[in-house]
Subunit: 434 residues, 2 copies
């Protein structure tokens, strides 16, 4: 048989069956059965098992393979074989092997480790197959969001991170010393997107946002990513259709391109296959009725807690829009309902299976007088918002939008217990390392 | 003639020639010639001239058109006509017109305004055609970068913004109060990308970065966006090929999809059409020779200044790689040249036409001993970098990457004087509003 020696990567190995190839990667794991060594090699694009047979190799090569520690980096040359029982469908019969970088006492062994230890070693932890699967799905989700919005004519307008004033109160803000002044890390790009929508019609920002909340729940990070589309000449229902279009597009892309990763995470794919528009729309008032029927005792005017969201979403197979919350639950910029002024023209999107809120959104108050009156009632300083009020002074229009939290969406689609695995380097109340 | 009334947007208006359509937008400008009003209408997707003829309309509609101020928001209904002399190739003969939001004393008039005034009114300024063109090209550039890297098998790994330690010294860092601790805003995601490359092979981060520099040059912002690809098993030349591939792909996408915007900006397109790989590679030493021939007196060991970069790039029609700078100019993590240890295995990419550095990059020191010795010589604290040193302890490999500054790239491709127009909301030494 004629062989050609080619440098390749694991995800392309199926193109080289019967041929000799060279791979560069790391040793994820190994086991021995006397005269045969099994090396599990990873290179970022995939994992493959390499077979090292004593009687087919130079003794020093077999000895090297035997002595390799977990996470050594190496270059291997071998013949690609089809092998239906192997995880990726292929195996490599190793002919030669070269150590590139050694590895002594790699801290994350195949045994179980506590979460604090893993988070402390996050820089190494995401070499694991599970963490790689999550990161690749996160990438797919982010790409799907951008592709969807771009295909719908939205223009990306990056919002600033350093802001002079607070969008929703100063309590949960991180303060930055900005030369001689104080600045704050953004909690949301929305107000800026409203300005941009008046210029470009349909816009979005996509970046990190910050909340200095002392929450330790499985849904909270201090630094998290949000996409925030905003549309001029937009009413609530237009926004809901964009949301259900986008969310179902994300899920379909992940199912199309990342099925292997979902399977590795043991995600119940049949649940994701049900995420097809339209999504149910229920009002806040109707939600309270559902909660009451389930034995809870919700109080009109309060926002939902985690338990409320869990119980509500368990009633549906799809994400649900909860619309028309009491104004008192919502931020100053929300539009009040013209018929029932105690309600906001808004909607949250709750993910199924108990994952809770992944989107908050609504129409914004476009009337200058109503907005100013509300700011006065809430005792807000108006000076820092003059630019925002300008949007109502110069050609105001009905407009609205929403913000989708990336880590909560990744958690839901991957089926994670905690958002800390849904971001490469989680920042929480007690963690800012590495 | 049968007409159908359809709601549409200006960029799609060519599909409705001879038909009646409804548009929603703002009045960008207007002029009158007695019995005819010319309304320049914009809706974010484009600009179109609407014709209001006195003798074809109800008197109150003509009177309304006459009284409209700049930036009023409105809904217009009219017949689409092909008109070769019109900017977009079409005009609208207006049949009806409805005011949505009024506009009194809009501050940005067609006359000239000073840059401070425009920056103070940034939330309104980007309603102008020039600013919209820049923002759309920025969007196209960012999309092209992501599409290029994704097509080459890179995985997006978002780097953290809040970091516990300094990547290149603390002098230019913004400090954040992080609950009981201090944190810093990231200057670069690179160190984190090195960790991610050891897991996923080829990765990139794309996000805001921060430098608390007291620079007031036309190339400096305190908050700017960077894309930072990093590759395992990568040598300098591999990285240069990725860079020239990516940069030429960006330019070709902008030429393909945003020619109208480039023309509006009066960009010399013939200069952009020359951006085709390969790009020239010249060493730092050769660069000094060129500068000397041009009458300058550069000192070996110093980094380039703005003037040096301008003169160097004026010698070439394409971007140029300047390689192998003195180690003393570069950060602690750069790999030293095995043959000439006073040099770093690195390259900057300088854009033509005097735009200067848009990329910095190189190979990273993969040898634990050399890296630790350098940190000691530079009197760096090693404790905060233990996780980074771990990458050399557990299967180290040759690796490298680069960082491309988005605003400098936008400035170059758009042909801007100053980077402050290349980002939606610029942050500079004296500006953090709006």
């Amino acid at each position: 048989m004629m062989t050609t020696k080619t440098k390749t990567t694991i995800h392309k190995i199926g193109n080289f069956v019967g041929q000799e190839v060279t791979l560069q990667g790391w040793l994820a794991n190994s086991r021995s059965s006397g005269s045969v060594q099994f090396l599990m090699i990873r290179d970022g694009t995939g994992f493959i098992q390499g077979i090292v047979a004593k009687n087919e190799l130079l003794p020093e090569v077999f000895q090297l393979a035997h002595s390799l520690n977990q996470e050594s980096s190496l270059e291997v040359t071998g013949i690609v074989r089809e092998e239906k029982r192997a995880p990726g469908g292929y195996e490599l019969t190793i002919k030669n092997l070269k150590l590139i970088g050694s590895s002594e006492n790699y801290p994350i062994t195949p045994k179980e480790h506590g979460i604090d230890f893993l988070m402390e070693n996050r820089h190494l932890w995401f070499r694991s197959q599970r963490q790689q699967a999550i990161l690749k799905i996160r990438h797919e989700i982010i790409k799907a969001i951008r592709d969807y919005l771009d295909s719908q004519g939205f223009v990306l307008v990056d919002a600033p991170i350093l802001t002079p004033s607070a969008c929703e109160g100063t309590t949960n803000l991180f303060e930055v010393q900005y030369f001689e002044d104080k600045a704050y890390l953004t909690q949301s790009g929305q107000l800026y997107m409203e300005a941009a929508a008046m210029a470009l019609g349909k816009v979005y920002c996509f970046g990190p946002t910050f909340r200095a909340e002392k929450s330790k729940t499985r849904r909270h990070l201090t630094e998290f990513w949000m996409v925030e589309p905003e549309m001029a000449f937009c009413h609530l229902e237009d926004s809901l259709q964009t949301q259900e279009g986008m969310v179902s597009f994300i899920v379909s892309r992940v199912l199309e391109n990342r099925k292997k990763e979902l399977e590795y995470l043991k995600r119940d794919i049949s649940k994701l296959e049900k995420i097809i528009p339209p999504f149910p729309r229920i009002s806040y008032d109707e939600s309270l009725e559902i909660l009451k029927k389930k034995g809870l005792n919700p109080v009109w005017g309060n926002d939902f807690g985690g338990t409320d969201e869990t119980i509500l979403t368990e009633q549906f197979e799809k994400p649900i829009f909860v619309t028309h919350f009491p104004m008192a639950c919502k931020a100053f910029y929300m539009k009040q309902d013209p018929v029932r002024p105690e309600l906001a023209v808004c909607a949250d999107l709750l993910a199924p299976e108990g994952y809770g809120e992944i989107i908050g959104g609504g129409q914004r108050e476009e009337d200058l007088g109503l907005l100013e009156a509300r700011m006065e009632r809430m005792k807000m300083e108006k000076e820092p918002y003059q630019w925002y009020l300008d949007l109502r002074r110069f050609g105001t229009v009905p407009h609205g939008g929403f913000g989708l939290g990336i880590e909560r969406t990744v958690s839901w689609i991957c089926g994670l217990e905690h958002v800390r695995e849904a971001i490469p380097f989680a920042r929480t109340l007690y963690r800012i390392y590495p």
